[in-house]
């Protein structure tokens, strides 16, 4: 346990990261910091952020936190800088360290800390210069009983993986920037440029980072790529209920829908379910009453369906509410909002980078009320 005057950070049960705050201060400040810590552990250091992992790597955790916090005030939170200060443990490095006696701790002050671009480390060198951008959109939607959309909106992010030598200055422009209703940027993006020209201009951090998150408002019509046909009925007298759902594609712009998963929290009265899926596998946990059905790819010719019966607790009255169906899916090579990256230009460096853009649409909080 690390105790600080202002922020007490406790690494223990029940959740990997919990925190005690003793002093007046903005709560979001603290929450935001915890999320940063979590992100660094999760993505930069250990791959997962769980209790056993933290216990196994307690020394690295100490070292990292020591750099991130000074007397309860955040110090270095940019992943580029942290990684330079404390090198993430990898198997190779552990082996090398035990042989050569070198350490994970960098002995130079990361130059980024002092420069005007604190998020980028200097002296970056790559033989293959590449910049990849993933446009990932999530559809949050609530569909009502009859299949009409109550609310639907698109949250999008542009995640970048930039591996470029030197100090590249990138500009990214969109075909249709007006689509973006509300945006929030990585600190590297020049706000003025965006305000005036709707162009993203930035010196990227090295490696993976989230360049932009945006929102396409509910005012714009959101195409819902799937539909769910459902017939879930409980009867008052009998102890059996009917359950039937079919998932089908709708407005997919010719792309296939993959990775479809259907989950639903069944009412307490449901004891067990005997279901047969036309494809994929399904499980029902009688303790948590959670039904999940891993559908996989949707074939428009043969729509996947899940049919069967539910056995209800004898004597109990029928549940008030039909279960809500949560849907997960993925569509590759499609940004459902229609956002398109126009071009990516690089200034400030001589070489020609390899550029790539990938689009993907996913289900966010996609719920179907039944």
């Amino acid at each position: 346990m690390i105790h600080r005057q202002k922020i007490g950070l406790q690494l223990s049960y029940p959740s990997p990261l919990s925190l005690k705050c003793y002093h007046e201060g903005p709560p979001l400040f603290v929450i935001e910091f915890l999320h940063r810590v979590w992100t660094h552990f999760r993505f930069d250091y250990f791959g997962v952020c769980s209790e056993p992992v933290i216990k196994d790597n307690v020394v690295v955790v100490y070292e990292v936190l020591e750099e991130m916090l000074d007397n309860g005030f955040p110090l270095a939170t940019e992943s580029n800088i942290l990684k330079e200060l404390i090198k993430p443990p990898t198997i190779l490095r552990t082996v090398v360290n035990t042989i050569t006696g070198s350490t994970n701790v960098g002995d130079q002050l990361p130059t980024g800390q002092l420069s005007v671009v604190p998020w980028r480390r200097t002296g970056v060198k790559y033989t293959n210069n590449e910049a990849y951008f993933d446009v990932i959109e999530e559809i949050d939607a609530i569909i009502d009983k009859s299949g009409s959309t109550i609310t639907a909106e698109i949250q999008g992010v542009i995640d970048a993986c930039v591996k470029l030598t030197g100090m590249p200055d990138l500009t990214l422009s969109f075909m249709n920037p007006r689509l973006l209703d509300d945006v929030s940027f990585h600190p590297c993006v020049r706000f003025k440029r965006w305000e005036s020209e709707r162009i993203l201009s930035f010196i990227p951090p090295d490696g993976n980072f989230r360049l932009l998150s945006y929102h396409v408002s509910a005012q714009n019509l959101v195409a819902i790529p799937v539909y769910v046909k459902h017939n879930i009925s409980f009867r008052d007298s009998s102890s059996l209920g009917r359950f039937e759902i079919t998932v089908g594609p709708k407005q997919t712009m010719g792309k296939t829908i993959e990775g479809v998963t259907v989950t639903s929290q069944m009412p307490k009265g449901v004891l067990n379910m005997s279901l047969t899926p036309s494809q994929g596998t399904h499980t029902f946990d009688p303790v948590t009453k959670m039904l999940s059905w891993d559908v996989g790819k949707i074939n428009p010719q043969k729509l996947p369906s899940l049919k069967g019966t539910m056995s209800l607790q004898a004597g109990a009255s029928k549940p008030d509410e039909n279960p809500t169906i949560n849907l997960q899916f993925k569509i590759q090579q499609l940004a459902i909002s229609g956002l398109k990256v126009n071009r990516l230009d690089m200034y400030g460096e001589k070489y020609k980078p390899f550029k790539g853009i990938k689009y993907m649409t996913k289900a966010g909080k996609f719920q179907v009320r039944t």
């Binding site: 100490y62 070292e63 110090l75 002050l109």
Partner: protein, 1076 residues
């Protein structure tokens, strides 16, 4: 912390595979000897020369600390390694030192010399970390050393070391608060630092050590504002919250003029509907009182802060967004606060803990400024996967925004019972707060009573009970309904509530109450205890009010209760009997029984739990907990008088410039917020046009509003509003002007683009002071203002055309010199006379007929043949639906033109032409007139046709002005009014206009209208009203035109017509004619 034994074994196994001889399990140590031995191992390892062994030992020690084991006895062995070369060992030793130095102060002193050496190291990283650890060692003896080190580091070359010095300040302060004065000096010095790296940390130190020394900020205020965007996120949060407090003490409230209004609005919100109406009235009064006050001018520094924080709403960090949001909420003028809503709604899509905090703040904000989040209603929809807390908060927010008028069935059926209860309570609050939805809410709640869920029913009955208590007079119906429900509702709590209600208000339901009691008496023995108690209660109350009917029933109930199993009920029965039934001894009490039972009960207050939170600063921990946290600082109130703004002036204004130049040299490329980072003159030049144009557009909108309000008197409601806004914009105008003169920014953009400003609001919205509503208004005005220029530009070409009729092709209708009219219309009259028609009578009433000649074919194009046409306004002989057009041919060539006739025509659907008889020959210099009829089918589409001579064909077209598509109708004033009454709503088009001085007299107005449109005047009683009537030729639909002129020149033009297109065009044409 306590580690699970399983884990420690695990760890012990994996801890030292390299050094099996030291690989003892550190935590299995129940036995002292092994514990002792283990520490021996570690000591041995620390004493070796091998870095790898030392590192291993230190790692294990740190792991021990992490598990909460005491490792203090290793202190001497560890402290020796503080000078170790290996940087990782060193860092771990630091960790150990910071943890145990306070316990072993004497030994800790051993390490101090190493740090002192470290402070002189050429490597800035080592200097910084030495200072960091030195300041973290909480040993009081070294306070003077720390003080010296901090002072030295504060003037270090490296900004990183200076930053560390800033961090060290609060540490030293917490160790020894006597050093405060010296520390403040250091803070003052560091506050003057120009690097973004230091800014955040030093403000943090300032907040910790001396938040009351606001005077230290003055000189650095502008610099901090300008640096803000480049400071790292954590620093931004601290600086913003400090600046919020600063601004509260240094600037005047931008809402001081609105505060009165706000109060009223709030009252209206929490009050009932009637009060709401009253509130509107007093708002007017308040608005009227406003001009008396000194106009408010926003301090440019205040504006600077608002402007520089705004881009941070786009930050990825939720903490920064929240900080800016609270800054805007606490500091910005009311109209500008709206911009934060979008950013806050964005945070609602973040992690659930962020959502929780944000929703709490949104709830408070929406209580104070209702309507802010209205456009984002959908973001407050509830998902079944939301945690209960979030669901409840979302419902609360929706209620305070007044969204939740009907009860979403899905919510009620939710499996989450806490949430259901919260929803029903929220509906109750909604009903109390917003008078107009009270009935809807009550109905919804009554419907819920038939729900199967016990909890829902009980909760609804309880809420209904509370609602009814507030309005005892009007709810007889609902109580009756509830009484009927007693047969069906089985939930005891709900039954009890209903019985209590009936008893309490038995006077409102005098017939039903005894009947309910009769039923309850019947089923008394089978009821639940809680219901039985209420039955006794009801009986007692009825006995007191209506003893004639219920005496026996009451006695029956009381005797039943007397033998009940439950002693509580027996007690109650005995007690009640003694009270109400007069007996010999208890006479004194029973006389007051009525007072005891039927005393008026105060209505419960249904208030949101967020109501009382608003005195905490938003976004603070105290606000979240709704309790004062340690270290919470009250947000000061606005000062009455603004403190001297000149304190913020920096003596050497050049420094910003220089420093920025230096900075720019440092930077390799122009960067991010370059212009933002440049403080002082450059910066203001950069951003000023924006604000200037804004104030310009505002001034224009203000003058526009002035115009329109003077034009019409029936705009009274708007006027007061406008006054307020007017004064507001006046202020900002002044503000803008002030800045203009101060900074000498080239003008120009503002005026030119003032009308565009509204439409381009996305770019200018950063500064726009208007809410969306007023923006619309502005747009409207802007478009309004656009019309006069176009009409102004129109006369110019016309004047030319009058001078040079032959060469200029007039684009629009224009009056022709009188002689021409006389001659042509005479000819037409004669023609028309041959076919006398009833429609001729009204046509005589129209004083001027005909519009000027228009060119059909120019003489050059027609090879000597010139063709003009006029609309004669005579009924066409052959077909009454046709417009008669006089065609004038003149031959200016020197050869006769033969065989003039119409060729084949390509006409749009519905349009037909009646040809004129062929003109056999037209001698040179001669002219001829022919009459043709065109049915335009009530549209202004052009009729295209061919004009043929023997040798040539000319393609010509006639496009009618809309005024020619109708014929006058004669009707009386009463008929007119009757017809007008039928053509309201969509068929009515109203425009306001300003009559120029030249056409104020009756004669001219009538002439102008009738020239523009072929309408007949309708006699009218009042002098300043003009009425005209006509029918369209093809369909015969009525066109009624009313011009309501006022002495000042303002006028209102109304056209009623079934044909909306014609109506709109007519309005346009008439206005153009009148305002010329």
């Amino acid at each position: 912390m306590s580690a699970a034994p399983a884990y420690s074994e695990d760890k012990g196994g994996s801890a030292g595979p390299g050094e099996p001889e030291y690989g003892h399990d550190p935590a299995s140590g129940g036995i002292f000897s092994s514990d002792y031995k283990r520490h021996d191992d570690l000591k041995e390892m620390l004493d070796t020369n091998k870095d790898s062994l030392k590192l291993e030992a230190m790692k294990r020690i740190v792991a021990m600390i992490a598990r909460g084991k005491n490792a203090s006895d290793l202190f001497p062995a560890v402290v020796k390694n503080v000078a170790c070369k290996n940087i990782e060992v060193k860092k771990l030793v630091y960790v150990y030192l910071v943890r145990y130095a306070e316990e072993q102060q004497d030994l800790a002193l051993l390490s101090i010399s190493t740090f002192q050496r470290g402070l002189k190291d050429p490597n800035q990283l080592i200097r910084a970390s030495a200072l960091r650890v030195l300041s973290s060692i909480r040993v009081p003896i070294i306070v003077p050393i720390m003080m010296l080190a901090i002072k030295e580091a504060a003037s270090d070359m490296s900004p990183y070391v200076r930053k560390t010095a800033a961090h060290a300040i609060p540490k030293l302060y917490s160790l020894d608060s006597d050093q405060k004065d010296q520390l403040i000096e250091v803070i003052e010095k560091l506050l003057a630092d120009k690097t973004t790296l230091v800014a955040g940390s030093v403000v943090m130190a300032f907040e910790e050590v001396c938040p009351e020394r606001i005077d230290l900020i003055h000189k650095n205020y502008r610099k901090l504002c300008n640096l803000l965007i480049d400071v790292e996120e954590w620093g931004q949060v601290v600086i913003i919250s400090m600046l919020t407090r600063y601004a509260r003490t240094q600037f005047l409230s931008p809402t001081q003029n609105e505060s009165l209004l706000e109060e009223n609005a709030e009252k209206a919100f929490y009050g009932s509907e009637e009060e709401e109406a009253k509130g509107a009235g007093s708002e007017d009064a308040a608005a009227a009182a406003l001009p008396a006050r000194k106009p408010y001018v926003m301090d440019p520094d205040h504006r600077l802060l608002l402007r520089n924080t705004k881009p941070l709403l786009q930050s990825r960090s939720a903490a920064v967004v929240m900080a800016v949001a609270q800054l805007y909420f606490h500091l910005a003028p009311k109209a500008e606060v709206g911009v934060i809503a979008k950013a806050l709604v964005r945070l609602l899509r973040s992690h659930s803990e962020v959502q929780y905090v944000v929703l709490q703040n949104v709830a408070t904000m929406s209580i104070k400024r209702r309507g802010m989040f209205e456009p984002y209603l959908k973001s407050f929809y509830i998902r079944s996967t939301d945690p209960t807390q979030i669901k409840i908060l979302k419902v609360t927010c929706r209620v305070t925004e007044g969204f939740l008028c009907h009860i979403p069935q899905t919510y009620i059926r939710s499996m989450d019972k806490d949430f259901v209860a919260a929803t029903i309570q929220a509906i109750g609050r909604c009903a109390t707060n917003i008078g107009r939805v009270r009935d809807t809410c009550l109905n919804g709640l009554v419907q819920l009573l038939s729900n199967r869920d016990e909890l829902v029913v009980a909760e609804s009955v309880v809420v209904i009970k509370k609602l009814l208590q507030m309005q005892p007079a009007q709810h007889g119906e609902i109580i009756k309904h509830l009484a009927k429900l007693t047969d069906n509702i089985q939930v005891p709590m709900a039954r009890a509530s209903i019985l209590w209600l009936i008893g309490e208000y038995c006077e409102h339901v005098p017939r039903i109450a005894p009947d309910v009691l009769r039923k309850m008496a019947k089923s008394f023995t089978t009821e639940e205890d809680i219901v039985k108690l209420q039955v006794i209660n009801l009986a007692a109350k009825l006995y007191l009010t209506n003893s004639k009917q219920t005496k026996l029933l009451t006695q029956y109930v009381l005797s039943l209760a007397k033998y009940d199993q439950n002693y509580d009920i027996r007690d109650r029965a005995r007690f009640t009997r003694q009270l109400i039934v007069p007996s010999e001894q208890g006479g004194a009490l029973s006389r007051h029984a009525k007072k005891l039972f039927l005393a008026p009960k105060p209505a419960p207050v249904l208030e949101s739990s967020f109501k009382d939170r608003d005195h905490f600063q938003l976004g603070s921990l105290s606000h979240l907990l709704n309790a004062k946290a340690t270290g919470y600082q009250e947000l000061p109130d606005w000062p009455e008088e603004a403190p001297d703004p000149s304190v913020r002036n920096v003596e050497v204004p050049e420094w910003t410039k220089c420093s920025n130049r230096e900075k720019r040299k440092e930077k390799e490329k122009p960067f991010y917020s370059d212009s933002e980072g440049e403080s002082g003159p450059t910066e203001s030049a950069d951003s000023d046009p924006e604000s200037e144009s804004e104030s310009d557009s505002k001034s224009s909108s203000e003058s526009g509003s002035g115009e329109s309000s003077s034009e019409s008197d029936n705009e009274d409601q708007d006027e007061d509003e406008e006054k307020v806004r007017g004064s507001e914009s006046e202020q900002s105008e002044e503000d803008g002007e002030k800045r203009k003169t101060k900074k000498k920014v080239p003008e120009g953009k503002g005026e030119a683009s003032s009308s565009d400003e509204g439409s381009d609001s996305s770019s200018s919205s950063s500064e726009s002071e208007m809410t969306s509503e007023s923006e619309e208004e502005q747009l409207e005005r802007a478009s309004w203002r656009k019309t006069p220029p176009s009409s102004k530009s129109a006369p110019a070409p016309k004047e030319i055309s009058l001078l040079d009729l032959e060469d200029f092709n007039p684009p629009s209708v224009q009056p022709v010199s009188p002689p021409a009219i006389v001659s042509t219309s005479l000819a037409a009259d004669l023609e028309g006379l041959t076919l006398t028609d009833s429609t001729l009578v009204p046509s005589l009433l129209s004083p001027v007929s005909g519009v000027g000649r228009q060119e059909l074919l120019h003489r050059v194009a027609g090879e000597g043949l010139a063709v003009d046409y006029t609309f004669s306004r005579q009924p066409f002989s052959g077909d009454p639906h046709m417009v008669s057009v006089h065609i004038h041919f003149s031959n200016s060539s020197d050869t006769p033109i033969k065989g003039l006739h119409l060729g084949t025509s390509k006409l749009p659907a519905g349009i037909s032409i009646q040809e004129f008889p062929e003109i056999e020959s037209l001698a040179p210099g001669e002219s001829a007139t022919a009459v043709m009829g065109i049915n335009f089918c009530d549209s202004t589409q052009a009729a295209n046709f061919q004009l043929c001579t023997q040798t040539r064909q000319f393609y010509v077209s006639i496009q009618p002005p809309v005024g020619e598509l109708m014929a006058p109708v004669f009707m009386s004033e009463n008929e007119f009014k009757k017809e007008q009454g039928k053509l309201m709503g969509m068929n009515e088009i109203t425009e306001k206009l300003m009559l120029p001085d030249t056409c104020r007299s009756d004669h001219i107005v009538v002439q102008k209208v009738t020239t523009t449109a072929n309408l007949g005047r309708v006699p009218c009683g009042t002098s300043d009203e003009y009425r005209f009537a006509g029918r369209t030729l093809t369909s015969g639909s009525l066109v009624l035109l009313t011009l309501d002129a006022r002495p000042a020149g303002a006028a209102q033009l109304t056209v009623n017509s079934e044909k909306m297109v014609i109506g709109t065009m007519l309005v346009k044409d008439v206005i153009q004619a009148l305002t010329q």
